[in-house]
C-alpha cells in the first residue's frame, strides 16, 4: 500500500478502505521502519499487534507504575499467557483472567463461550491441567427500558457459559453477577481459569533455547483456519455503535468445546511424551490476533525470527487472502515449537491417536515453518513473500501517554428517616437481583465435574477444590468488584474489590496467595475515562501492597495475571468503572475449611469490623431509597489486614465453624444468608448494641463497611477473643445461633427486625430468577 509521499487524507482513505484500524501516524512509522511501503498483509499484522488488546498501548505505563507482580511465591509473572504461584515445593497454581465483553454483547452465547474457551487455553498451554473457572458477569437493568435486550443478553451469556464449560469438563466454582443500567448496552463477561502444574513441568509460550540454531519446527494444531474473528482484536478495542453491529458480527469467533476436550487430552499426551524424553518445547494458544500474534510473540520473546508458509497451514479453503489466514481468530488452535526429531511423533498424537480429522472436519496438526536466527518475521503464501519485517518491531507495539482528568460528579447523601421496623427493608434488599441467591444460575453449571469440589457456589464466599488426588491442599477462588462504588470513587472501588476478594477466601479459612485484575473501562482517549482507569489501578495496587502476603511482612500480594478492556461504551453511555478482581487462596488441608451456614444452636456470633457511616452505593440506599449516596466504603488497610488474618487464624485453630464476609447488603444480609444457605432450621438473634456504634439502626445493619460475621464454636469463646485481641480487634459478641427458625435484631432494647426464615427465603431465592425470566 502506498504511504510514502502521500498526504495524510490520502493515507487515511486507503487505510479505511482496506478495513485497517491503524492511524495514519502509525502507518507512517511502519513505512519508516521498513524503509519502503508496507504490503497489505504487513499492515494487517501491525494493525493486529499494535491494537490495544495485544499491545496495551494506553495502559501499559500505568500498570507498570502501580502494580506489583513479583513476590516470594511467584513462579511466573504476567509476561506469559498465564501467571503462576507456588502451592508447595512440588505443585503450582496457574491463573489467567480476561474479558470477552464486546463479543458477548453482540452474540451472547458464542461470545461468552469463546471467553471460556480462550482462557482455558491460556492455562492449558502452560502445561497445566485446567481445574476450575469463575465468571464475573455484569448485565444491564432487567427492569429498565432495555429489559428485553438485557435479558436476552443475560440468558445467552449464561447458556454459553454452561454449554461450553460443562461439555469441556471444567467446573465453574465461583463468580458474581451484578445488574445495573450502566451495562444496558455494554455487558461485561469476564472469565477466570485456574490450573495445576508441577513446578518442573511448566511449558513456556516461547521458542525454546536453541530453537533458531536447531531449525525447530513450527506446528499449528486444531481447527482449520477460517475467516472467523478477522478484525477481532481491533473490534475489541473500539466502541460499540448500533449501526456497526452488523459489520461487527464478522468479528465473532465460533467455539467448540468438544474439539477442545479432545485437544486437551491430546496435549496431555504430547506433554507426557516431551517430559519423559526431557525435551523442551514451546506451546502457546492462538487467541486474540490469531496466527500472527502467536507466532511473532513466540519467536520475538526468545530473540529468534520466524519463516512461515501459510500454504502449509490447514484451512477451510484455499481462497482466503493472506491477511485473513494470518489474523483470523479461528478458535480451538494451538502453536507448538519442537525439535525436528519430535515432529513426526507429535503429528501422530494429534492426527492418528486422537484422530482429529474425524473428530472435527478439517482439524489436524500441520507443520507450517521453522524458527530462524535472523530476527525477521517472514510469511509466504502462494509462492510470494507476503510479510518480511523485523520481528521485534512488530511485537514491540507502541505506547501512548493518555491524558487524564478527574470526572466531575456531585453525589450527595440522601436525607432519610430511619424506619421503626427494618424487616421490610431487609426483604427488599434480599430480593434485589444483586443480593438474592445465585442458585438460578449456578444450577446450570456443572460444579462437580472432575470430582474435586469441596465447597461449591452458594455454600461460602469462595469456591474450594482439592485438585490433586492424594494431596490434602486446596485451592480457593473468589471474584469481586462493586460497580456502584466505582461510580462514586474509582480509587476505593479498586481497593475494596481487592479487600473483598481476599476476605472471601479468608472466610473459608484459605490464605490469599495471588490476585488477578481485569480492568473494564470506557474509551481511554477520553481523559475522564482514563482518569478512572488510573484511579482504580492505584487503589487496587495500594490495597494489594498494604494487605501483605500472609507470612511475609510488608510484602504485597502479587498480581500475576490480568487484562485491560477499554472502549466499553456506546453512544448511550459508558460502563461504571469495573476493576474485577480474582483472588486465589490456599489451604493446607481442605477438611479445615468452613462454610457460611450456621452449624449449632447456642453458638455465639461475633462481628469483626466496626460499622461506619458508609452506605454510598449500598444496596440499602439503592433498593430502598432509590439513592446512590456519597460515603463509599473505604479500606482501612491495617484494620482490614488484621480482620483477614484473624479470620484465617481462628478458622485454622478450629474456633470458628461458620464465617461470612460483610459486603452488599451489610451485616443484615450477611446474617440472613448464614441462616438461609443451610438446612433452614437455625436462626440468629442479634443485639446490635454490642456493635458499640452510635449509628441509627438502619445504617448500622446496612452499612457496607468491611468485616465478617463469625460463628464461634460454643466453649471456644476465650480462644477466639484471644486471637481477635492479638490483632488489636474490638470484641463484639453480637448474639447467638438459635433453634427458632427466625432472624431477630434488637437495638436499644427494641426489636427492629424480626422475620421467619420461610418469608426471608422466599424473597431471597426469587430475586434472580425473576430478573432473568
Amino acid at each position: 500500500m502506498k504511504i510514502i509521499g502521500l498526504e495524510d487524507q490520502e493515507v487515511e482513505a486507503s487505510l479505511r478502505s482496506a478495513g485497517l484500524g491503524l492511524s495514519v501516524s502509525e502507518a507512517r512509522s511502519v513505512a519508516e521502519a521498513l524503509g519502503r511501503d508496507p504490503t497489505i498483509p504487513e499492515l494487517f499484522n501491525y494493525d493486529t499487534m499494535w491494537s490495544e488488546h495485544c499491545s496495551y498501548k494506553s495502559s501499559r505505563a500505568t500498570l507498570k507504575e502501580f502494580l506489583c507482580t513479583s513476590g516470594p511465591n511467584v513462579v511466573q509473572g504476567p509476561e506469559e499467557d498465564a501467571g503462576i504461584v507456588a502451592i508447595d515445593d512440588e505443585w503450582c497454581v496457574v491463573i489467567a483472567h480476561e474479558s470477552h465483553n464486546h463479543p458477548s454483547q453482540i452474540l451472547p452465547n458464542e461470545g461468552a463461550a469463546t471467553g471460556i474457551g480462550g482462557i482455558v487455553r491460556d492455562v492449558n498451554c502452560m502445561g497445566a491441567k485446567v481445574v476450575a473457572t469463575a465468571d464475573p458477569l455484569r448485565f444491564g437493568d432487567p427492569y429498565g427500558g432495555d429489559r428485553n435486550h438485557v435479558r436476552w443478553v443475560a440468558e445467552g451469556v449464561v447458556d454459553g457459559i454452561w454449554q461450553y464449560g460443562n461439555a469441556l469438563g471444567v467446573p465453574i466454582i465461583a463468580g458474581d453477577v451484578v445488574f445495573d443500567g450502566s451495562f444496558d448496552t455494554n455487558c461485561l463477561v469476564n472469565v477466570v481459569a485456574i490450573g495445576v502444574v508441577r513446578r518442573g513441568e511448566i511449558i513456556k509460550s516461547r521458542a525454546p533455547a536453541g530453537a533458531g540454531e536447531g531449525g525447530y519446527d513450527v506446528i499449528v494444531v486444531g481447527k482449520p483456519t477460517d475467516s472467523s474473528g478477522f478484525g477481532g482484536v481491533t473490534f475489541a478495542s473500539e466502541q460499540l455503535r448500533e449501526e456497526d453491529e452488523e459489520a461487527n458480527r464478522g468479528a465473532i469467533q465460533i467455539p467448540d468445546p468438544f474439539l477442545k476436550n479432545v485437544l486437551f487430552k491430546a496435549n496431555e499426551a504430547l506433554f507426557k511424551l516431551t517430559r519423559e524424553e526431557g525435551i523442551t518445547i514451546g506451546f502457546k494458544d492462538l487467541g486474540g490476533g490469531g496466527f500472527t500474534c502467536a507466532s511473532s510473540e513466540m519467536g520475538a520473546s526468545a530473540g529468534y525470527g520466524m519463516d512461515l508458509d501459510l500454504d502449509l497451514l490447514h484451512k477451510v479453503s484455499d481462497g482466503l487472502p493472506p491477511e485473513v489466514v494470518a489474523c483470523a481468530e479461528t478458535q480451538e488452535r494451538f502453536m507448538l515449537i519442537c525439535p525436528p526429531e519430535v515432529t513426526e511423533r507429535a503429528l501422530k498424537i494429534y492426527n492418528e491417536d486422537w484422530d482429529l480429522p474425524n473428530v472435527y472436519e478439517g482439524a489436524r496438526a500441520s507443520v507450517v515453518g521453522k524458527v530462524t536466527t535472523n530476527g525477521r518475521y517472514i510469511t509466504r503464501y502462494r509462492g510470494e513473500v507476503t510479510c518480511d519485517v523485523p520481528i521485534r518491531h512488530l511485537t514491540g507495539g507502541i505506547r501512548y501517554q493518555r491524558e487524564e482528568r478527574p470526572r466531575m460528579t456531585s453525589f450527595e447523601e440522601p436525607a432519610i428517616a430511619t424506619p421503626e421496623d427494618l424487616t421490610d427493608a431487609l426483604l427488599k434488599v434480599l430480593g434485589s437481583p444483586n443480593v438474592s441467591s445465585r442458585e438460578h444460575i449456578y444450577r446450570y453449571y456443572d460444579t462437580e465435574v472432575q470430582g474435586n469440589a469441596v465447597i461449591r457456589p452458594g455454600e461460602a464466599d469462595a469456591g474450594l477444590i482439592a485438585p490433586v488426588r492424594g494431596k490434602k491442599f486446596g485451592i480457593a477462588l473468589s471474584v469481586d468488584a462493586n460497580p456502584f462504588y466505582g461510580r462514586i470513587s474509582p480509587y476505593w472501588a479498586g481497593a475494596t474489590a481487592v479487600a473483598e476478594a481476599m476476605r472471601n477466601v479468608a472466610a473459608i479459612g484459605a490464605t490469599p496467595a495471588t490476585l488477578t485484575d481485569c480492568l473494564n473501562f470506557g474509551n481511554p482517549e477520553k481523559p475522564e475515562a482514563f482518569w478512572e482507569f488510573r484511579e482504580c489501578v492505584r487503589g487496587l495496587a495500594d490495597a494489594a501492597k498494604a494487605l501483605w502476603l500472609k507470612g511475609y511482612e510488608d510484602t504485597p500480594v502479587p498480581i500475576v495475571s490480568g487484562n485491560v478492556s477499554f472502549y466499553n461504551e456506546s453512544p448511550e453511555g459508558t460502563v461504571d468503572p469495573s476493576p474485577i478482581i480474582a483472588c486465589v487462596g490456599l489451604i493446607d488441608d481442605v477438611r479445615d475449611a468452613v462454610t457460611m451456614d450456621l452449624k449449632r444452636a447456642g453458638d455465639p456470633i461475633y462481628l469483626i469490623g466496626p460499622r461506619f457511616d458508609e452506605l454510598g452505593g449500598s444496596e440499602y440506599y439503592r433498593t430502598v431509597w432509590r439513592a446512590t449516596g456519597r460515603n463509599v466504603p473505604v479500606v482501612r488497610f491495617d484494620l482490614e489486614r488484621s480482620m483477614i488474618y484473624a479470620a484465617i487464624d481462628s478458622i485454622a485453630e478450629k474456633n470458628v465453624v461458620a464465617a461470612h464476609d460483610i459486603s452488599n447488603g451489610g451485616l443484615a444480609a450477611t446474617a440472613a444468608e448464614m441462616a438461609l444457605v443451610g438446612r433452614g432450621d437455625l436462626g440468629i438473634d442479634l443485639d446490635l448494641d454490642a456493635a458499640g456504634s452510635d449509628l441509627p439502626a438502619d445504617r448500622l445493619i446496612f452499612s457496607e463497611s468491611s468485616g465478617f460475621l463469625l460463628e464461634c464454636k460454643a466453649g471456644s469463646e476465650e480462644d477466639l477473643e484471644r486471637i481477635l485481641k492479638g490483632y488489636g480487634l474490638e470484641i463484639m459478641r453480637l448474639g447467638e445461633v438459635t433453634g427458632s427458625r427466625e432472624l431477630r435484631m434488637t437495638h436499644h432494647g427494641k426489636t427492629v427486625l424480626r422475620v421467619d426464615l420461610e418469608t426471608a427465603k422466599k424473597a431471597w431465592t426469587g430475586g434472580l430468577g425473576e430478573a432473568m425470566r
Binding site: 476436550n261 444450577r443 446450570y444 472432575q450 470430582g451 474435586n452 469440589a453 455454600e459 461460602a460
Partner: protein
C-alpha cells in the same frame, strides 16, 4: 480384577471415575474409543463414564452408540461381565439397546423438565446433590450388589437429558416386576415425590437408574465417582469431616459392588 473405563471423544469424567474404582480396590485403565475393540475382552468389567460424547450431537449417546467399541461391549455383556454406565454412559447404553435390554431401543432419556404443581418451572441442564433409594434386592445388579432394599445413597447429578420416557405402556410395570428399577430419586427421608425438586428431571416414576434383565448392566444418571470420598460430600452432610482423605463416601458402594460382583462371578 481389571476394568476398562471407556473413553469417547467428549467424555469428561474418565479420570475421577478410574480414581473412584481404584479406591474400591479395582485396577484398571482408560480405554480410548479407537483402540482395537478386541482388546476389550481382556478386562473383567467396564465403566462408561460421564461427559458429552460427540457433544451430545443429534441426541445424547446416539452417535457413540454406533461406534465399534459398543459392539464389542455388547458381546462382553452377553458373557455376563459387568458394565456400568454413568450419566452419558447410561445414555449411550440406552441408545445402544443394552438398557433396559428387552430386545431393542426400549426407552429414551429425554430433555429434563422440572414440573411443580403441573407447571414447567425450569428445564435444561441441572447440577445438584440428590438422594437415591435403592429399589432392587441385594445381589440383583452388578453395580448395587452390596446394597440393601430401601438403602439411601447421596450423590450429585449433572445433566440435561435424564428424563426416562417410553411409548410402551407396559414397560414400567415390567421393569418394576422384574426389579430392573435399581434407583429412584427421593427426598432425604426416602420418600418418592413425583414433582420437582425431588423428581429432578421429570423421569417416569422417578427412575434414576435401571439394569438389564440379567442384572450385569447398570445405567444411572447420578455420579457415584463424585461422592466416593467423604471429603467430596456437601458441607451440610455430617459425614463430610469424618476420617482422612481416603475415607469413603456413599458413592464408593457402587464400585465396591462391581468388585464384589466380579469376585462372585468367578
Amino acid at each position: 480384577m481389571k476394568i476398562a473405563v471407556v473413553q469417547f471423544p467428549g467424555t469428561n469424567c474418565e479420570h475421577e471415575t478410574l480414581v473412584a474404582a481404584r479406591s474400591a480396590g479395582l485396577s484398571g485403565e482408560i480405554f480410548r474409543w479407537n483402540r482395537p475393540a478386541e482388546e476389550l475382552s481382556s478386562f473383567d468389567g467396564y465403566i462408561i463414564p460421564g461427559g458429552f460424547s460427540y457433544q451430545d450431537r443429534l441426541r445424547a449417546g446416539a452417535i457413540a452408540s454406533k461406534e465399534p467399541v459398543m459392539d464389542a461391549l455388547r458381546e462382553e455383556a452377553e458373557e455376563g461381565k459387568p458394565i456400568i454406565g454413568i450419566c452419558n454412559g447410561f445414555q449411550i447404553l440406552v441408545e445402544a439397546g443394552l438398557l433396559p435390554g428387552l430386545g431393542g431401543v426400549d426407552a429414551a432419556l429425554a430433555s429434563n423438565v422440572m414440573v411443580s404443581k403441573g407447571e414447567i418451572v425450569r428445564r435444561g441442564f441441572y447440577c445438584a446433590w440428590t438422594t437415591l433409594r435403592h429399589e432392587a434386592p441385594p445381589r440383583r445388579c452388578s453395580g448395587s450388589f452390596l446394597l440393601e432394599v430401601g438403602e439411601l445413597v447421596r450423590m450429585p447429578l449433572a445433566h440435561a437429558e435424564g428424563n426416562l420416557v417410553t411409548v410402551d405402556p407396559d414397560l414400567m410395570a415390567r421393569l418394576n416386576e422384574d426389579h430392573q428399577v435399581v434407583f429412584r430419586y427421593c427426598n432425604e427421608a426416602g420418600e418418592v415425590d413425583p414433582e420437582y425438586p425431588v423428581n429432578i428431571n421429570g423421569s417416569l416414576e422417578n427412575v434414576a437408574g435401571i439394569c438389564n434383565p440379567e442384572g450385569n448392566v447398570l445405567g444411572m444418571m447420578p455420579h457415584p465417582e463424585r461422592s466416593s470420598f467423604a471429603w467430596q460430600l456437601q458441607p451440610t452432610d455430617p459425614g463430610k469431616s469424618v476420617g482422612d482423605m481416603e475415607a469413603p463416601g456413599p458413592g464408593r458402594r457402587i464400585f465396591e459392588s462391581m468388585k464384589r460382583y466380579i469376585e462372585v462371578r468367578r
